[in-house]
């Protein structure tokens, strides 16, 4: 009980921790060389959504903003696949879904043919 009360009173505990993972080719948009993975531990306020988390990352990496969003800046473009906890958007989350502690957002290059 005391732990719960402590958590409510402590602003630090209201911060949510979300991981954003850019995989392989997508890493070139977040300062990488297009290989492996780049993992970002994002601390976000309660009420943060998938969209706001992505926008936060895009604010630091303009190249990602250009690749991820369409010309309106409101919708995702076709180039990068977004998954939340391994599920593509639309299954368990939309862009407007609130994120939870420990959620993992993955950015994958779009499939380009056989």
């Amino acid at each position: 009980m005391s732990e719960v009360r402590s958590a409510i009173r402590n602003p630090q505990s209201e911060i949510l921790h979300v991981t954003v993972e850019a995989v392989a080719w997508v890493t070139q948009f977040v300062g990488g060389d297009g290989t492996r993975r780049r993992i970002f531990a994002e601390a976000v306020p309660p009420g943060a959504t998938v969209r706001s988390v992505l926008l936060g990352l895009c604010a630091r990496f303009p190249a990602l903003r250009q690749a991820l969003w369409d010309r309106t800046g409101n919708d995702l473009a076709e180039h990068i696949e977004v998954l939340v906890n391994d599920a593509v958007l639309g299954l368990t989350h939309s862009l407007e879904s609130p994120v939870r502690e420990g959620d993992r957002i993955t950015l994958l290059g779009q499939y380009t043919g056989g």
Binding site: E78, H79, L89, L108, Y111, G114
Partner: protein, 642 residues
């Protein structure tokens, strides 16, 4: 009023039409070859026909409809094997050596449209032809030799039994041409022995692989087509405009975030991208999780390329860093030269059969290409055998002592030899996995991946890509007909959809129908046409002198799709066959798409798709209204009886 057929409208006299009468970009003639009578002749085709049918898939679809009636099955001598290129082939636009093979194929016994690149299209155009239409069956094995106005049907006894690379080697040596001086497309032992999923392969690593087109070529006893790079000149209407359009296309491919990965690495990123979405087929669809201990970092594109000594192997006029040749660096085949696999090869000769060592997979993939079979069907077939042996549905005795365990590429190669030569159980497997599973029956039958029409799915796990499952099942080309959307917003389609939303999936597949038919009619590669349609249309307009808007391109594509569908319906391939096999349509048991069941939504997806494309759900026919809107009134009497 019925539209006249190409056969009826052409001027029978041979010889090149006056260049000024032709739209730019066209050679102006169609080469006809009758193997039974040992003769060849050329026919001009009219500017009106060029505008209506463009080339490649569009031209082939019209010839198929006009000249291959229902009784002419895939193995009938009167079946046509159409090797067509298009108006951009041979021009300075990236990837324009394109070849479209159109025929009545062996897998579905229906329409086939399958593409390859290299140099064939350019060599053919420079020799003065936009397409070759082959009919009849030769009395003995022959090859077709073309050098400008010289067209000869020559004895091919010395090529018998050679694989597709050996065939090219032998023809180069005998004819004295090497490198890009001559394009050779041939069949390997698989095509010679009428393996139902045999392919036509050429220019070391390029394969027109779908729907058993190699079996059709084998049935005609045509071992190879060798075209010396001709000396003709292609006129274009607006040379400066063409170069500007070509620059736009190249710039788009280098800078568009999706196309850029193709520009840099071809399809190598496909393995990891699809794995992350649960769409990498692993062990015959039994799992979507990599085997324990798999080094996924080794499957990143740079690793796949840099892990081998490699050289660029570009197609005609192409600046993409796509096609490559490799040297096997380690293992029992160290030092052998192979072609860098496309994604489909990494999947079909690799993950689908549980093989996750890139070196071993690369080697096996080239054996498949050299033998001349479709690597997709090979993967489904070998994966099925491996699963059936693991579960005791097939015994080693049935396979003459051969025991196939997941990932054993050497055993898979031995099975490939059995199939190619129809040895023992290989004779049953040579019929493809659908017919083999039906022959074996019992629980083995439920493990096979195929469509009811008989077409081989591409090398993805379509249970996480419902668009492609619907596309494959409804297709009239023997393979994907629409393919993944390219620049979808250009036509008002959404940039992305929920891949498990059945209605959105069906609207997307139906909404994009036609684009690929247009691409496949240009004589260009599907990877270099991954640019905006307005760029492609600008190039086509500059080449031909037409004003060719993107709306006309889509209408053209839908006309071609409707023609191919009409052909399939005439062949007896109706809507009752538009469904996946039980395994193909099953529900993933693990991975990112775990639990996503397509089966409950299948009927609804079909309903929506039919409504979007304007076909009748009950009969499968394009409606009268659709046919009129597409300018295909001449099909109405044949399809609707009025």
């Amino acid at each position: 009023m019925r539209e006249s057929t190409i056969e009826a409208r052409v001027n029978r006299s041979s010889g090149r039409p006056a260049a000024a009468d032709l739209p730019g970009g066209y050679a102006g003639k169609i080469l006809r070859v009758d193997l039974a009578r040992g003769r060849s002749w050329s026919e001009p085709w009219s500017p009106e026909q060029m505008r209506s049918y463009l080339g490649g898939a569009g031209l082939g679809a019209k010839i198929l409809w006009d000249e291959v009636p229902a009784p002419v099955t895939w193995d009938h001598p009167d079946n046509r094997l159409i090797l067509a290129t298009g108006p951009l082939a041979g021009l300075p636009v990236w990837g324009t050596g394109g070849l479209s093979v159109v025929t009545r194929g062996a897998m579905t016994n229906g329409a086939t449209s399958t593409q390859a690149n290299g140099f064939f299209g350019a060599c053919l155009k420079y020799s003065g032809y936009d397409a070759i239409v082959i009919q009849g069956q030769a009395p003995r094995w022959v090859y077709l030799y073309i050098q400008d106005d010289t067209v000869e049907i020559r004895d091919a006894a010395f090529l018998a039994g050679k694989d597709t690379w050996q065939t090219q080697d032998a023809l180069q040596e005998r004819l004295g041409f090497s490198g890009h001086q001559m394009s050779v497309y041939s069949i390997g032992p698989a095509g010679e022995n009428l393996v139902r999923f045999a392919a036509i392969a050429g220019d070391y690593g390029h394969v027109a692989s779908k729907n058993g087109c190699g079996a059709v070529m084998g049935k005609k006893r045509l071992k190879a087509v060798a075209i010396v790079r001709g000396t003709g000149v292609l006129r274009v209407a607006d040379p400066q405009g063409l170069l500007q359009a070509a620059d736009e296309i190249a710039y788009d491919l280098q800078t568009n975030p999706t196309a850029k990965s193709l520009y840099e690495y071809g399809t190598l990123w496909g393995v990891l991208n699809l794995y992350g979405q649960g769409a990498l087929p692993i062990k015959n669809y039994t799992t979507n999780v990599a085997p324990e201990g798999t080094d996924l970092a080794a499957w990143e594109a740079p690793s796949l390329r840099q892990g081998f000594d490699h050289r660029g192997h570009q197609c005609n006029a192409c600046g993409m860093h796509h096609c490559h040749m490799q040297v096997i660096p380690t293992g029992p085949h160290r030092g052998e030269i192979v072609d860098e696999p496309e994604y489909e090869g990494w999947a079909g000769a690799g993950w689908a059969i549980g093989a996750t060592d890139p070196v071993a997979v690369s080697w096996l993939n080239t054996q498949v290409d050299r033998a001349g079979v479709d690597v997709n069907e090979f993967g489904w077939l070998v994966g099925w055998v491996m699963e059936c042996q693991e579960k005791g549905y097939l015994t080693a005795e049935q396979l003459h002592g051969l025991r196939l365990r997941w990932g054993d590429v050497e055993a898979a190669a031995r099975l490939l030899t059995m199939i190619n030569h129809r040895q023992g159980f290989g004779d049953i497997l040579a019929e493809g996995v659908k017919r083999a599973a039906e022959a074996v029956g019992g629980p083995a039958a439920s493990c096979a991946i195929y469509t009811a029409k008989g077409a081989s799915p591409r090398g993805h796990d379509h249970r996480a890509r419902w668009e492609e499952m619907l596309d494959t099942a409804t297709s009239s080309t023997g393979t994907l007909e629409t393919g993944p959307p390219v620049h979808p917003t250009e036509f008002g389609m959404p940039a992305r959809i929920n891949p498990f939303d059945p209605e959105a999936v069906a609207r997307n597949v139906g909404g994009h129908l036609g684009r690929r038919h247009f691409e496949d009619s240009l004589g260009a590669c599907i990877f270099t046409t991954r640019t905006r349609m307005e760029n492609l249309c600008r190039a086509l307009s500059a080449a031909t002198g037409w004003e060719y808007p993107k709306e006309e391109a889509m209408r053209f594509g839908r006309r071609t799709a409707a023609l191919l569908r009409a052909f399939d319906l005439r062949c007896g391939l109706g809507p009752e066959l538009e469904r996946p096999s039980p395994r193909y349509g099953s529900t993933p048991v693990d991975g990112p798409a775990q639990g996503q069941a397509v089966e409950p939504h299948w009927e609804r997806m079909l309903e929506v798709w039919y409504a979007v494309v304007g076909y009748d759900r009950k009969t499968g026919r394009p409606t009268r209204e659709t046919l009129r809107a597409l300018g295909l009134q001449f099909l109405i009497p044949a399809l609707w009886g009025d």
